[in-house]
Amino acid sequence: DQQVKQNSPSLSVQEGRISILNCDYTNSMFDYFLWYKKYPAEGPTFLISISSIKDKNEDGRFTVFLNKSAKHLSLHIVPSQPGDSAVYFCAASFNKLIFGTGTRLQVFP
C-alpha cells in the first residue's frame, strides 16, 4: 500500500511559468516532508523540506505547501527554468523516509 503518492508521472511546463508538483499521503503520523530532485545517472539531491507544524516553506524559487487536513503537499517552482527538468520525489518521514514514485518535470523554452 503506497503511503506517499505522486499521481502525476510527468509534467510539462513552459520556461518562466509556474510548475506545481503534487503529493498525497495517507499516514497522519508523518511529521516531516521533503522534496528531492533527481537528474539521470545521479543520486537524488535534497531540495526543500517542511515540518508538519508549518504550512509553508520558501527557498528562493521553490515553495512547499502543506495541507494537513487534506494530507497533501505541493512544490511550486516559480519561475521554471530548463535546468529544473528532472524527476522530483516527495518523501514523508516518521522514523524512516517513505518516498513517492516521482514526477518527471520537463521545462521547455
Binding site: L34, E42, G43, F89, S93
Partner: protein, 111 residues
C-alpha cells in the same frame, strides 16, 4: 574527496552469484541507508543503520544482507542474485532520520 561514494557504478552478474555493493561516506553521519529504485515504485528502503553494528530492515529486505563494522562503510550483499534484483541501488547517509544525502547509485543487472 568528501561526500558519499558507491562502487561499482555498473555491475552485470548472473543469477545465483553473490554480489556486494559498496558505500562509503566521509561525513561521519550516524545513519546510513540502502534504497532500490524501480519504475513505478520510486525509492524503496532495503536496510538502514543507525550506527556502527546496528542495522534494521526496511520495506524490501529479502535477499539482501548488510553489515556496518565501521561508521563510514555500509556494504550491501546480494547473497544469491535473482533477476528481480535488477535495479538501481542508492546509498544515503544522514545525521538524523530526515534529510538524507545520496550517493550516485549503482546500476545492477542480473542475467
Amino acid at each position: 574527496d568528501a561526500g558519499i561514494t558507491q562502487s561499482p557504478r555498473y555491475k552485470i552478474t548472473e543469477t545465483g552469484r553473490q554480489v556486494t555493493l559498496m558505500c562509503h561516506q566521509t561525513w561521519s553521519h550516524s545513519y546510513m541507508f540502502w534504497y532500490r529504485q524501480d519504475l513505478g515504485h520510486g525509492l524503496r528502503l532495503i536496510y538502514y543503520s543507525a550506527a556502527a553494528d546496528i542495522t534494521d530492515k526496511g520495506e524490501v529486505p529479502d535477499g539482501y544482507v548488510v553489515s556496518r563494522s565501521k561508521t563510514e562503510n555500509f556494504p550491501l550483499t546480494l547473497e544469491s542474485a535473482t533477476r528481480s534484483q535488477t535495479s538501481v541501488y542508492f546509498c544515503a547517509s544522514s545525521e538524523g532520520a530526515t534529510e538524507q544525502y545520496f550517493g550516485p547509485g549503482t546500476r545492477l543487472t542480473v542475467t
